[in-house]
């Protein structure tokens, strides 16, 4: 299974990259995806998560081909 992981705004700058491609062999939750992609950095408390451009909770399972995104609270408008 393969997913694209994307990061935006201050989180992207903090990590120093805008995306990862992650390969795994059993379904993972959104939170586990973060831990796999960023083993040295606990997810910041206020992080928002989206799968395929819809907001999700951290326990949602991520499927092959999905796009998952992590980002800070939004500040538009």
């Amino acid at each position: 299974m393969s997913v694209k992981v994307r990061y935006f705004a201050s989180l992207r700058e903090r990590l120093g990259r805008s995306e990862d491609e992650l390969v795994f062999f059993a379904p993972l939750t959104a939170h586990a995806i973060w831990e796999r992609a960023n083993p040295d950095l606990p997810m910041p408390d206020n992080t928002l998560v989206a799968v395929n451009m819809d907001y999700v909770k951290l326990d949602v399972l991520v499927n092959d081909g999905d796009e998952i995104a992590f980002f800070p609270p939004v500040t538009g408008g």
Partner: protein
């Protein structure tokens, strides 16, 4: 219902006029139009702000905006709405966002307009990074929208 994300300066009042003129149904039916314009300030939390960069998540931003319009449609009778949001580099006094709602009656127009801008601020993935002096910093979160409780 129209959503535009634009990378250069726009004139919100002209956009409203042009849009309304182009929609004959609005001239015939709309008894009310409510308009919100958000403009960049040259200060924030006591600091002078010289500019701002607005980042977004192409695809998701539009999807979430469509969703809040759809939610508004289930609660209020909207004849039409126009939503424009700037991204990229913005200067003080330039428009950041326009929300215009046309309806048969004022209650629907005003309430839907308020709902759209408030929902946009919590659901649409945009992020502001302000330039203050020689540095730039990300805006941590939106206010409640009232001076007294900022």
């Amino acid at each position: 219902m129209t959503i535009k994300i634009v990378e250069s300066h726009f004139e919100p009042w002209q956009e409203v006029q042009i849009y309304q003129n182009a929609q004959a149904a609005l001239t015939d039916k709309a008894g009310a139009a409510a308009v919100f314009v958000g403009t960049m300030r040259d200060f924030n939390a006591g600091h002078t702000v010289s500019g701002m960069r607005l980042e977004y998540y192409p695809g998701m931003t539009e999807k979430q905006l469509e969703k809040v319009i759809s939610q508004a449609n289930t609660q209020w009778q909207m004849l039409d709405c126009l939503l424009i949001h700037r991204v990229g580099d913005i200067l003080p006094h330039e428009a950041i966002v326009l929300v215009a709602v046309w309806s048969f009656h004022r209650g629907d127009a005003l309430d839907a307009c308020r709902y759209l801008i408030d929902s946009l601020k919590t659901q649409a993935p945009f992020w502001k990074k302000e330039r203050i002096g020689d540095s730039a910093c990300w805006v941590a979160g939106n206010t409640k929208g009232y001076y007294a409780i900022e």
